[in-house]
Symmetry: C2
Subunit: 125 residues, 2 copies
């Protein structure tokens, strides 16, 4: 019974760790191809519209990551009034963000290939 | 200059997050196919022998994860004397560990497909 809780906790931890490593990469990627600055809800919709469900990336999960990426200089933002509600913060990628995206994409592919090879059992044990 | 440090810190953070999410999965996978219990150094060698370099998974990084997986009931271990040095702790996967591996593999594939689709630009922006 206690073991069940432990396994469930481990499952949540795994999802959380996998997510925290990938959300930043996904955000940089989406904003690198955006023709115009995007606000949080637009990005969320963009993420939800894809085929794969992906990790749960609701707005609540996105905003802290957007702020963190801006603080690090990878994104920049400006606030603009909205006719239909409160002002919106629009994000765009910086030059440092584009360079980081290239670097992170390389790291991602390396890790992905490594994990996939291990899962497929290409490594002799 | 400060921006360089920030970007470098972000790069390290990204690698660390990606790694913490995948090391546990890789360990469960390797031990699920092991014919005999394995000790830390054997696992490290097994990881290093692969094609892809993968995230840096030296012994220092592995041991805390092995201990954590055992604490959660996904691995079990026993200590055995070694002729050539100090006693070794041998790890094997538990039944709960095998079930968790199936679940995590699903989560991994979902996340991987999602990130790859985003990077390839399959999602319209």
């Amino acid at each position: 019974m206690n073991e069940m809780n432990e396994a469930e906790a481990a499952r949540k931890k795994f999802r959380k760790e996998l997510k925290s490593g990938t959300v930043s990469l996904v955000l940089l990627s989406i904003l690198s191809r955006a023709e115009h600055p995007m606000y949080g809800y637009q990005i969320t919709k963009n993420i939800d519209s894809g085929e794969g469900s992906g990790p749960d990336m609701g707005q609540g999960a996105l905003y802290p990551v957007l702020r963190s990426l801006e603080k690090t200089g990878l994104l920049e933002s400006r606030v603009e009034p909205s006719v239909s509600g409160p002002p919106r913060r629009y994000y765009s990628i910086t030059e440092a963000g584009r360079e980081t995206l290239v670097d992170w994409t390389g790291t991602w592919e390396e890790t992905r290939n490594f994990v996939d090879a291990t899962l497929k059992g290409d490594r002799d044990v």
